[in-house]
Symmetry: D2
Subunit: 345 residues, 4 copies
């Protein structure tokens, strides 16, 4: 029995990746797509400036795109994936939840709301039950689950492994982020050729707060943020896909390079279709992971780490994940699988 | 009265910048150039694959290039600029010093030797007098002065300003370095298009040790390294020139964004021809400095800073300098001017 | 006595170059700037996302930007430079001409109109007198003069030299055009990193028609198009500035590589401030001219040529010019100087 | 029954693609690899700086690499793929042929030799029987078959389709070639970032002669070159893979856009494992094919065409192929399959 799914914001950079992931998905069946008012009524082929380097899946190209309102989505859709600009998301996602839809959202609005679970299934799947608090409080038949920002997702699995074994106290992270993270029109060529931009609006704050929520503890009623101190510095560079990050992790317990690598290499995926067998790939070559060579580890759902060095207070390392797969579309799909597994649909 | 100068390694990326700087220099006159054995005897035009976006200076193109030995440099040369691979530098620089030449070197060999001054004139000009210790100890008529690594130079002026006002305790720095820092053939196009490389061999160690020597104190006999803890993470990206760095500076004294900016903005250049009027340009726009737009601040001899944020233990900011000008050729020329001013020629 | 000038579309990529050229200009004084409705009333610093790698000229940053209507431009402005989207240009340029302003326009609208001179001063300065026909016919006090498209300008000076000596019959040209030619937001980073786009809307047609008008003959009443057959193929690549073009020029008379090079090397600039001493620089190195190394020849107002080979029917070669200088802003300024010299202001 | 194959030059850019293609190949089994003297004796993992964005195939990483001489290749190897620098190829390929090996070579040496077949199986498979003339003449037990240069392969299938239907008279072609075509170290980052190079040594001559041999006729004794006039202009741009070409094809018979597209769309692959079902994919979008989006058409073995326009004497269009797959490694493998099918092993 397939789950009938809809995609809000289906024509954008993440939306196209969602379409690519849902088409062959063993549990999901694409039943509705929406985009901005100006695209409504067009076929997907007309509405989307398709930029993935594989063709539009058969059957999808001629599907009609609706407007982004509950009225344009059939009632028998069980699960909604949302990848909207945050302003639009803040406005329409509650409408969908009120109308009874369960929404797995990649949009940044509401991620830090107290009754909205922010989940990376391999890290904090238990937080999903915050949805019960949410339904009680908001009186929704539907539900709203969020995945974190792409740059946050990249570092959280390795940080979770370190935290479990050595207790994190301070994290410093510097990012080298790909242009696809800003959407198709987000970075112009004149801005980035022979250049780098040491600022991505709001990104540092997202990394600093979302990581503490993901590593926080849920007691059945609320999520207590992790007490670690996180400071981020975010940069845009001329790569297409794959966020690379330099991390300094200070720990309570003493940590060696070998112990840190072991803690990460041990992390397995979980029992969901999109979760990879090995979540974190540890590279021994000092110059890896690299965006172009390693962003497709585990079909873009793995996280690569390398370049470990001991520091006075902990360990430093590099991590990399595919920002529109593990960091966005794949993250939402994985959360959708979790919602299905846990009976929230 | 011009100082007659020679350039060792004149055909490389930094060598070409040296030629470009010396040609119009008010104090220096180019009298000799050397390169590898295979280039010796050729004209500079033949030997150098000239890649600067301005023509080879008149008069230089037809000068003959010698081999890199004291025998191939006229006796009346007063000052040698050296930009050799470190292995070659380690071998031949002492020969030149022994033969009586004063060498201002950009090569990385010997920078941390106890009797070799490592100098950025605006930061620690007083260290130059370590040369007297050096001459006493080694029995040289000549002398060997070093400038630091390009990635170190970029962050040291702003760090010196902070240290003077607030006392540094810990520094974390992540770099986004331009390909020219590796020389003309150092990074292939297949390595860097749509990619970044999170490793530059030995660079992190250089930043961690050289910065402590530059900010160390010289008591007339030896340099005591600064006690701060420095940890670096170095990345190569697809920019031509200009190293961009994200810095977290923890301080003993409390520091605000405004106080940090003020401390940096106050730093003036010093009384040497290549020292800019204002050493550090503070950008108010949060997305500056950027490599392509800001690497030529003060003709490539300034340092740009921006993106200040307060952290729990200090301040974070970004800095940028032109790696082959302020970070290499210009640094050596500035040190040559200092040697001249202080009577070491 | 300075000529007071205004700039329509002052905040765009070409507009910023116009500001950069007018500021130090010996004959012109900036008296007015306009932009879109949403920018009107702002200072230039606020309105323009300045992207030139030199600061906004002093005095200009705090000037107020007006809306693009004759009402927002003072009456005592003698000359208008226009760099508007063609749709806007088609609408407002006639308003300015009717109101008595003389307009030197880079906008593509109306270039092939029979009574509009299309001029590159070093090639067909005599066509400027078509303005008398224009004024008679349209009853304007003002006047409208156009420079051609950036990709056309790049090839026309060398083609004119060949045509003068050997009579052109057929031209095939393939272009590798820089992203700045599309304006600041014209090409997204996701479109061009690790990519090339073999299509620029309308560009091929512009090159094919405009080149024949520029090399056409003016008899005092009308311009007869040159009879040569021109076919263009236009590509966008990941360069910031500088259009590179591969040209096959078939000629009536026999032509050798040496004769072709000589014909081009002989072309001098003309007696206008922005015209370079030597218009065409002939490179002997087979791999030159290159965009990054050679786009600034003669301060961006020269044209580089190289790579000559004899073909069965003529000669093939490469040419390069800075597309926003010689190819746009500089072209308009040069035409403004011509209008001033010839007494049209 | 697998064919045991060896690869000469296995560590280079094309060599790595050969390994990638042979590993899962239904007919071939990798039995030997050679590289330069300095790599001999190392494992493949040690010897190759692997740069393909998929891991080294299992089993290959630990195989030992030999020197490039017949002595280092087992006797029971049936087929040799060669991708050597042309100087090396000219020296050692005859040694292998003399020793009885059949060599499918991508190296440029000897391609125009009268008794060496130059073959793209879908275009001129019949030329393979020139090998009988070769064996007679040279007294070899082995044999030497060549595939053309990557830039030639890209345009020849569409040209063959046009020639079959409309008879080609003149061809002008301008290329935008990827950096991988020059090998891993062939183009430095400093040469190509924000730049293009309008010259690739010898490339124009290869395209001009090889295309006439491929479209020439073989009468059982010799190949008569096609009489068309071909002139090429070759450029290197900042793409990783995929050569894009602008072609003007003048024809004897009249040709329309539709007829040209139909002639190309009709071309099917042939009965060999690596030949795609449809050889030429015709794009209707005017801005396609593009390197990044379309180089993987038919797993990199297809050719994309688009942008058709009628010209005075024929038609112009763009074509694209993956230069290290269809243009090099895949071309050699395909020729190996042909040799196997025709009984030459």
């Amino acid at each position: 029995m397939s789950v009938r799914v809809g995609v809000l914001g289906a024509t954008g950079a993440v939306g196209q990746r969602l379409i690519q992931l849902i088409d062959p998905h063993p549990e999901f069946e694409l039943a509705a797509m929406t985009a901005s008012e100006s695209s409504a009524g067009k076929t997907y082929r007309e509405a989307a400036k398709w930029r993935v380097d594989a063709p539009i899946p058969d059957g999808v190209a001629e599907m009609e795109v609706g407007a982004t309102t509950p009225d344009d989505v059939p009632d028998d859709v069980d699960l909604i994936f949302s990848s909207l600009p945050s302003g639009v998301g803040a406005e329409v996602e509650p409408d969908f939840c009120r109308a009874g839809y369960v929404v797995s959202s990649n949009s940044s609005n509401g991620r830090m709301d107290e009754d909205v679970p922010l989940v990376v299934p391999e890290v904090n799947a238990d937080h999903v039950d915050l949805l019960e608090v949410q339904r009680d409080g908001r009186g929704w038949d539907g539900a709203l689950l969020k995945n974190p920002n792409c740059s946050t997702i990249t570092m959280v699995p390795p940080l979770a492994a370190l935290d479990g074994a050595f207790d994190l106290t301070d994290v410093r992270v510097s990012t080298l982020q790909a242009v696809s993270g800003a959407g198709y029109d987000g970075v112009t060529s004149m801005e980035i050729i022979d250049n780098a931009i040491p600022h991505i609006g709001g990104e540092e704050q997202k990394m600093e707060s979302e990581s503490r929520k993901l590593l926080g503890s849920f007691d059945g009623a609320e999520v207590e943020l992790h007490g670690m101190d996180v400071a981020a510095s975010c940069n845009r560079i001329a790569t297409l896909d794959g966020h690379l990050e330099n991390v300094w992790a200070d720990t309570e317990e003493e940590v060696t390079v070998e112990a840190a690598e072991d803690a990460m290499a041990e992390v397995t995926g979980i029992d969901l279709p999109s979760s990879p067998e090995q979540l974190i790939k540890v590279f021994e070559e000092p110059d890896r992971p690299q965006p172009r060579l390693d962003r497709n580890v585990e079909d873009g759902m793995g996280v690569g780490v390398g370049g470990f060095r001991e520091t006075t207070d902990g360990v430093q390392f590099n991590c990399l994940a595919h920002n529109t797969m593990r960091g966005a579309a794949g993250a939402s799909v994985l959360n959708g699988e979790l919602l299905n597994q846990r009976g929230y649909l």
